[in-house]
């Protein structure tokens, strides 16, 4: 049983366009049976934050290729990617690299 978590979700590089232009979101994830990991967070984001065009952000159960994920300013590949267990006051940043040059 996971306690509610307070997490900061941030979007950059153009990804914020899918979230009404808002870059920083302070979210409180409700308590639930399974612990919160990135996989569940993505499902939650898709349901609650994503305003349009889900296929431009999420592909399958992960992010679309070209979108980087940083957890507390570190590459998510170092932390287990989708299986990383979120902790209170974590900061998750999604940067789209697909825009601009």
């Amino acid at each position: 049983m996971a306690a509610p978590l307070s997490v900061e979700v941030e979007f950059g590089g153009g990804a914020e366009l899918l979230f009404d232009g808002v870059k920083k979101h302070q979210v409180t994830l409700p308590g639930q049976e399974e612990p919160w990991d990135i996989r569940n967070l993505l499902v939650w984001i898709k349901k609650n934050l994503l305003k349009e065009r889900p296929e431009l952000f999420i592909q399958g159960d992960s992010v679309r290729p070209g979108i980087l994920v940083l957890i507390n300013d570190a590459d998510w590949e170092l932390l287990g990617e989708l299986d990383y267990q979120l902790q209170d006051q974590d900061s998750v940043l999604f940067i789209s690299t697909l825009h601009g040059g």
């Binding site: 950059g12 590089g13 153009g14 366009l17 899918l18 349009e52 065009r53 296929e55 431009l56 592909q59 399958g60 992960s62 290729p65 070209g66 980087l68 940083l70 300013d73 570190a74 590459d75 590949e77 170092l78 932390l79 287990g80 940043l93 940067i95 690299t97 697909l98 825009h99 601009g100 040059g101």
Partner: protein
């Protein structure tokens, strides 16, 4: 790898990937001490400081290895506001400010092109973006030029002409130039004249008050006229496919940047194309029919314009590295929506190829670097002309040597004229624009309007014939070439007339070897079909 029926929508389960997953207890692979923050390539974890050193080293090595930028040379940095070009501008800024013998030695300027009209943005949005842009430019401190894409309607036809320059880049010449520059600097310092870079900067700042002073007299940075904005919107709205729109945008943008560079004496232009972008560009250009020009389109240097050389110093950095660096070291950038923002995956060849490469990269992390290394091996071969003729005519739009032979061009032209004569008169009318004269409906009667229609269509074929294969393909997506900026049509006309004069004055004897006849005389010119000297 690419099997029919293979579904790319779902990435394969993680266990099947060859690369091992990294544990949490790893240390930086370089210094073996720091906490890693980013994974580069497949499995190399770097700590923050090692990553910074690695990133900067790649940039300097790319410039140093190629030895194309001479000390004291004026270099224009093409900044789009996006992450890669912002990173490039910042690298130049940091590289120039170091007080060591190894610092960069050229004289930079920055150009920003406002493409809002082509993307359909409102004037308020564009003004807001421009305010942010100017703020960043003030922080950077280089001489800057802000131009809007509408200014292509004021470009002279000379933009489309190649001005060949003497090749200055031998090994000895570069070293000699660096030595003499260092000696000059040393003398200046001894005389107490201060840092010669700041001297040079002071000069530049004085000579470009227009672009820098926001309160000065109206400069080209002033907002474009409503007529020009409308003309640009009309042009881009008339393009039927997103692929052609993107290609047209790139072409116009490069002409504009070239013009500004020439006008202000810049001999080099730096663009921020990253490794990932160039890999995508390589594959896209293959699909568009630009295979012959890959070395120029994706190589480090692009000398097609002659006097102004385009260089790509970021071509060794992947988009991931750029994004991480910008985040970790707070590099400012300005986000602007582009023509393909939020477009679905199959909207254009560019988007499709981007999705393909990035998905492949997610499963096979060496994809981008393999494509990149292949592009490095592409060598610019001089065109094999018979009898050692100088290089042939160039494409009107992309300025690459035309890759269409006389035979092909004659058949293509023949095919075009035959379709023309078989086309229903209403289609002819529509193509000619606003002409609604009824005599056209009579068919191929040699009435006044028919000739006029044909003349209009002739000018269209005149332009088409001066284009390379891929530019022709793009122009096919424009129902009429009228909305194109006048400099393109003017130059097409000029070249065609010059060619006709050439033909008229040529000796009847032996035909010139290697003279690829790209615009044979059309039958409609004198209103008289079937001229005897049609083609050659």
């Amino acid at each position: 790898m690419c099997q029919v029926g293979e579904d790319y929508a779902e990435p394969p389960p993680r266990e099947s990937l060859p690369a091992p997953r990294l544990g949490c207890g790893q240390k930086c692979v370089k210094c073996k001490q720091g906490e890693p923050v980013v994974v580069i390539r497949a499995g190399d974890a770097f700590c923050r400081d090692c990553f910074k050193a690695f990133y900067i080293h790649k940039f300097r090595a790319m410039l140093g290895k190629n030895r194309l930028i001479f000390p004291g040379e004026k270099v224009l940095l093409a900044w789009s506001g996006g992450p890669s070009s912002s990173s490039m501008v910042w690298q130049v800024l940091e590289g120039l400010s170091q007080h060591s013998a190894k610092r960069l030695r050229f004289v930079p300027g920055v150009i920003y092109v406002d493409e809002g009209a082509a993307c359909g943005r409102s004037l308020e949005d564009r003004a807001k973006t421009l305010a942010e842009v100017k703020q960043v430019l003030h922080t950077v401190g280089f001489p800057w030029h802000v131009v809007s894409l509408e200014e292509v309607f004021g470009l002279p036809p000379s933009v489309l002409r190649c001005c060949p320059q003497e090749l200055a880049g031998t090994e000895g010449a570069y070293k000699a130039a660096v030595d003499s520059f260092l000696q000059h600097q040393h003398t200046l310092q001894v005389e107490g004249a201060g840092d010669s870079y700041s001297l040079a900067r002071g000069d530049e700042e004085q000579s470009w008050p227009q672009s820098q002073d926001p309160h000065g007299p109206p400069s080209p940075a002033a907002s474009p006229s409503a007529a020009q904005t409308e003309a640009l919107c009309r042009l881009f709205e008339s393009v039927q496919t997103l692929t052609a729109k993107e290609e047209l945008l790139q072409t116009l943008r490069s002409h504009l940047i070239l013009h500004v560079a020439r006008a202000h004496g810049y001999s080099k232009v730096m663009t921020g194309d990253s490794c990932t972008r160039l890999a995508i560009k390589l594959m896209t250009n293959l699909a568009l029919g630009r295979g012959a020009f890959l070395a120029w389109d994706t190589g480090f240097s692009d000398e097609r314009h002659g006097d102004v050389v385009v260089v790509r110093p970021m071509r060794d950095h992947t988009l991931k590295e750029v994004a991480f660096y910008n985040r970790l070291f707070a590099i400012p950038s300005v986000f602007t929506p582009a023509v393909d923002t939020k477009a679905p995956e199959k909207a254009s060849i560019h988007r499709l190829m981007e999705a393909f490469i990035l998905q492949l990269q997610a499963q096979f992390p060496s994809t981008v670097s393999t494509v990149y290394r292949t592009s490095e091996k592409l060598v610019k071969a001089p065109r094999e002309d018979c009898a050692g003729e100088p290089e042939g005519p160039r494409c009107l739009l992309c300025l690459c040597i035309l890759d269409i032979d006389a035979a092909d061009s004659a058949t293509a032209f023949g095919a075009q004229t035959s379709t023309l004569s078989q086309m229903p008169p209403s289609a002819l009318q529509a193509e000619a624009g606003t002409r609604t004269a009824p005599c056209c409906a009579v068919g191929r009667a040699p009435g006044c309007c028919w000739k006029a229609c044909r003349r209009e269509h002739d000018s269209q074929t005149q332009v088409i014939q001066q284009l390379c294969y891929s530019c022709r393909g793009n122009m096919k997506d424009l129902p009429s070439l009228d909305p194109l900026p006048p400099y393109i049509l003017a130059e097409a006309q000029l070249r065609s007339q010059r060619y006709k004069t050439c033909l008229a004055g040529a000796q009847v004897g032996a035909p010139r070897a290697g003279s690829h006849t790209h615009f044979p005389q059309g039958p409609g010119h004198a209103g008289d079909p079937g001229l005897s000297d049609r083609g050659q």
